[in-house]
């Protein structure tokens, strides 16, 4: 795990929590939307908070997919669940809402869960080499210097066979 990868996980946590709360704030400003009045949904998107919330959640999705490209699902989900804790802490210290004892206990449990996986390897699933195209696999092998003879490398690439 590099520093950049930890930053991506932090980004998933922060953008997810911020997107949820900004979107929720925007939808409260917009008010109730009836299922029989769907065009009002378009006006809801015009609300700056709703728009900002959607942009934050789109960033969350991109970062989450990036994290899933190099880490296990069972690593990414608990690691990014601190977003729930962030929401509760922002409710307590920014919005000055009361946070019950049960919610503090929830914060402790989630933090404990994150602590459990913090030191474990991010990726345990086998790489999907079998699903990679033969051409790409040969190119990767050539790039990694696995082939000493450039002519052989070109031949392997063109035939799509991994040496």
């Amino acid at each position: 795990m590099t520093f950049r990868k930890y930053l991506v996980l932090a980004g998933v946590t922060v953008f997810g929590a911020a997107g949820d709360s900004v979107l929720s704030h925007g939808m409260k400003q917009v008010g109730n939307i009836s299922i029989h009045d769907l065009p009002s949904l378009i006006f809801a998107v015009m609300n700056p908070y709703v728009m900002a919330g959607i942009l934050l959640l789109l960033t969350f999705i991109v970062l989450n997919m990036t994290a899933l490209s190099w880490a296990d699902l069972t690593y990414v989900l608990p690691a990014t669940s601190m977003g729930y804790v962030l929401l509760a802490l922002s409710a307590r210290f920014i919005l000055h809402e009361q946070v019950s004892l049960m919610r503090w206990l929830g914060i402790v449990l989630i933090s404990g869960g994150v602590g459990f996986i913090a030191g474990s390897p991010a990726l345990t699933s086998p790489a999907h080499q079998d699903e990679k195209s033969p051409l790409l696999a040969a190119k990767d092998a050539a790039r990694n210097g696995a082939l000493e003879d450039p002519a052989h490398a070109e031949e392997a690439v063109s035939s799509g066979v991994e040496p």
Binding site: T74, L77, S111, G113
Partner: protein
């Protein structure tokens, strides 16, 4: 009868959330390490690989079903029951599904993490 509807809705939300998560995780493993790909092949290669992967679209479709089921379930039951129950079941379901379908090594440490987070989410959102 109302309870059956609510819990049926909760189980449906959790099921489709797990299916969506697993399909997205599988798709991104097939795409490859995005950081390495960005360095070696550039942004458009990454975008092309993501856009041409059918698992991405099936994953998004499953998550859309989960979202609309949540909307229906919220009309039958309270938010304080439906949201935490569905989120907790999704965490536990993901651990099983990742072990079976993604062949991840879900050791004792990861099981404990999944159970702690599922319990914590239930308490926070409840």
């Amino acid at each position: 009868m109302r309870h059956a509807y609510i819990w049926g809705g909760i189980l449906t939300i959790a099921f489709f959330s797990v299916v969506g998560d697993v399909l997205l995780a599988r798709a991104m493993k097939q795409v490859g390490d995005v950081h390495a790909l960005l360095r070696s092949a550039g942004l458009w290669t990454v975008v092309g690989r993501v856009a041409s992967n059918p698992n991405i679209f099936m994953g998004v479709a499953a998550m859309t079903v989960a979202f609309f089921t949540l909307l229906f379930a919220l009309s039958w039951g309270d938010l304080s029951l439906v949201a935490p129950a569905a989120a907790s079941l999704t965490f536990i379901g993901n651990a099983f599904a990742a072990k079976i379908f993604l062949h991840e090594k879900v050791d004792r440490r990861r099981w404990i993490a999944a159970i702690l987070v599922a319990g914590g989410v239930a308490l926070l959102a409840g």
